[in-house]
């Protein structure tokens, strides 16, 4: 059964067309990888799913469990279970990581009509998850992402994802800027969250990440559309041949 359906999505930013009739279906419990050359619209898709306001959807729809999310604000989508792991997580000076996580979790729970999580329960959840991701207590006390390296920021994204337990997680080039050890830690964190109820979209340039997070499906994006869909072996094929074949296809 499909959890997320993207139908004929057309998106512009500042009058420039980026997504051009994109169709994508993600099955419940699946990890779908999206690969493609620079400028093919992968990050735009990620932002549009999360609800970034700069993008204008001119046509098409995005359904989560059959319900359109396009009119929802980013926080409403998050409460419905959408999570974007940012390619470049921002620093939020002055807001402590723990305060941030707790505010986010409770806001989502409130929106879903659930009670607030208790302090001991919350502390245990964060500490255990942080430990598995190699995030120190000292880092948890710091302001959100402030002074963290690129790899540390990516780990924080996975920590947030683990605490917030989304239904559909979009990982936008989570592998960029990671060394091989960090990549393995992050992938372990992601794999720990795989479940029959949760789907993931993993956006990446490189096949390497998919050795650690093995997808059910691989989609290739070019010029704002999905141009090819296959199994995990498609990633290997792309790694060997490159994207030239797909870049040329749009000449018409």
């Amino acid at each position: 059964m499909s959890l997320l359906e993207v139908k004929n999505l057309h998106v512009e930013i500042d009058g420039k067309k980026i997504l051009n009739g994109l169709d994508l279906t993600v099955e419940k419990g699946h990890v779908a990888a999206i690969m493609g050359p620079n400028g093919s619209g992968k990050s735009t898709l990620a932002y549009v799913l999360a609800g970034k306001e700069d993008y204008e959807v001119t046509e098409g729809d995005v359904l989560l469990d059959g319900e359109s999310i396009l009119e929802m604000s980013p926080d409403e989508r998050a409460a419905k279970g959408v999570f974007l792991a940012f390619q470049y997580p921002v620093e939020v000076p002055g807001v402590a990581t723990m305060t941030f996580l707790r505010t986010a979790l409770n806001a989502q729970r409130k929106s879903r009509g659930e009670g607030e999580v208790s302090t001991p329960e919350f502390m245990k959840l964060v500490r255990d998850t942080a430990k598995n991701l190699g995030i120190s207590q000292e880092m948890l006390r710091r302001a959100v992402n402030v002074g963290f390296s690129g790899g540390e920021k990516k780990r924080q994204e996975i920590l947030q994802m683990s605490v917030l337990q989304p239904r559909i997680a979009v990982l936008d080039e989570t592998d960029s800027g990671l060394d091989i050890d960090a990549l393995r830690i992050v992938a372990d964190g992601v794999n720990a969250l795989r479940s029959p109820e949760r789907s993931m979209i993993v956006i990446t340039h490189y096949q390497r990440l998919l050795n650690y997070i093995v997808p059910e499906v691989v989609h290739v994006m070019a010029r704002g559309r999905v141009v090819k869909t296959g199994g995990k072996e498609l990633a290997l094929e792309l790694e060997a041949k490159g994207y030239a074949e797909y870049a040329g296809e749009e000449a018409a």
């Binding site: 999360a50 609800g51 970034k52 306001e53 604000s73 980013p74 926080d75 989508r77 998050a78 409460a79 999570f83 974007l84 940012f86 997580p89 921002v90 939020v92 000076p93 002055g94 807001v95 305060t99 941030f100 505010t103 986010a104 979790l105 806001a107 989502q108 929106s111 302001a143 947030q160 917030l164």
Partner: protein
């Protein structure tokens, strides 16, 4: 354009009349009476400052002060009862509260428990009795011809006189609460003198919770050699409020000030600070939170008159609705004040398109071996940060509140006293929670 002296405004006439009427009964004879007369003459010559007076360009008192309220009568029991809940922001703080109602010291509402090295008195008493400390310092801590200070000097009624003896270290902050009890519009002119002697350590808080009373406050602060003084000013004022800090810092001394202003209609906080001795450190900081048509003006004159001193000036304003924030910061480095290290930064966060921030930093440097700098920024809340917070499920108002907290946090975090730091941050969070 010819600078024609305009006719006196009703407020100017009322202030003159108030002085003429009170002249005979204002405390202090001899030198003090002469000081008042000189100050009143300055006001008479110049009138209320207006937009063509450069230092008051953005806070045109002549226009803003439509009328001058009558001087507050001495508070009766009912007035004192009305004033008893004033000073909410720092209510829970473990401090020595000294309460002033309508500008008059209320000893029965104050904590006068004796403490070694601490002398507390009322300015009215000290002026009346010809107190030597007051005679030595009042009017001479920082000489200025500023008209607001002159008006205060002419009409000063009461205030605190505090001396911390050599090497004494106060256990608790001294918390001056300036409350309003009058049930009619009134005005008061409070003047305080704080002398922190050599090597002494003290925290002084002025909390003005002045309701509808017009207030012209001035505080003279003398920080001795090797002394440490922390000075806080917390202001909530629904009528015109002009306050002047006149400070003189000795050698190897530490001086930190912090001004917190919210829920105030028109406030002008002027800080005249002179580093008069070598190797001293100073931090002059503050935060203002404004909405509606609130107007808060922070004006600094920081004079580095001795070598090897370091000062940091750092102010932040959050401007909602049509709030108007003004920052004028002038750092003057005198010719012999070599190795001065002074850095000034002011930032405004504009929450609407209608809010306005005016920043005027100035450096006047007459020494050739110094490090001085200033910066000013004005911006809207960062969209990328807001999206990041919202994408985690935090609704827009809460996301904005977190960003405002982060914005002011940078300067609030500089407050060394943890209890005061937390109380002010909590007050700010409460302010954000009450945003419409």
């Amino acid at each position: 354009m010819a600078d024609v002296t305009p006719m006196k405004t009703p407020a100017e006439q009322a202030l003159s009349a108030a002085y003429e009427a009170a002249r005979g009964s204002l405390p202090g004879k001899g030198g003090i009476a002469t000081l008042r007369e000189g100050a009143f003459k300055r006001f008479e010559e110049r009138g209320l400052p207006h937009r063509r007076v450069e230092d008051w360009k953005y806070t045109d008192l002549r226009a803003l002060m439509r009328e001058a309220n009558p001087l507050a009568p001495a508070p009766d029991a009912a007035a004192k009862a009305r004033a008893k809940d004033a000073g909410k922001i720092l209510k829970g703080l473990d401090s020595r509260r000294l309460v002033f109602v309508d500008g008059v010291f209320a000893p029965e509402m104050s904590d006068l428990a004796p403490e070694d090295g601490l002398t507390i008195g009322s300015l009215a008493d000290a002026l009346a009795s010809g107190d030597a400390l007051v005679a030595e310092h009042v009017g001479s801590t920082f000489a200025t011809d500023d008209v607001a200070v002159a008006l205060n000097t002419a009409l000063m009624g009461d205030g605190a006189v505090i001396r911390i003896a050599k090497a004494a270290e106060l256990k608790r902050p001294i918390h001056l609460v300036f409350a309003t009890g009058a049930d009619k519009p009134s005005a008061n002119f409070v003047r305080s003198l704080v002398v922190v002697d050599e090597g002494a350590k003290a925290t002084i808080i002025e909390e003005h919770d002045s309701g509808d009373a017009q207030v012209n406050a001035a505080t003279e602060l003398v920080v001795g050699d090797e002394a440490e003084a922390d000075y806080f000013k917390v202001t909530r004022a629904r009528a015109l409020h002009v306050a002047s800090l006149l400070a003189q810092i000795g050698a190897k001394a530490t001086f930190n000030s912090f001004a917190y202003t919210s829920d105030s209609s028109v406030v002008r906080n002027q800080n005249f600070v002179r580093f008069a001795g070598e190797h001293s450190h100073g931090g002059i900081r503050g935060v203002s939170l404004q909405r509606g048509k609130e107007h808060v003006d922070t004006t600094l004159l920081i004079e580095h008159a001795a070598a090897h001193c370091e000062s940091r000036e750092q102010f932040k304003s959050v401007l909602d609705d049509r709030g108007h924030g003004v920052f004028q910061g002038k750092i003057v480095v005198k010719p012999h004040a070599q190795k001065t290290d002074a850095k000034m930064m002011t930032r405004s966060l504009l929450l609407t398109d209608e809010a306005e921030a005016d920043n005027k930093p100035e450096l006047e440097i007459f020494a050739d071996d110094v490090v001085c700098g200033h910066g000013a920024t004005t911006s809207a809340p960062d969209k990328a940060l807001k999206f990041y917070l919202m994408s985690r499920g935090i609704p827009e108002p809460e996301a904005e509140a977190l960003l405002i907290q982060a914005f002011i946090g940078e300067v609030v975090e500089e407050i060394g006293n943890e209890a005061i730091r937390e109380a002010l941050m909590n007050a700010a969070i409460e302010w954000m929670g009450s945003r419409g």
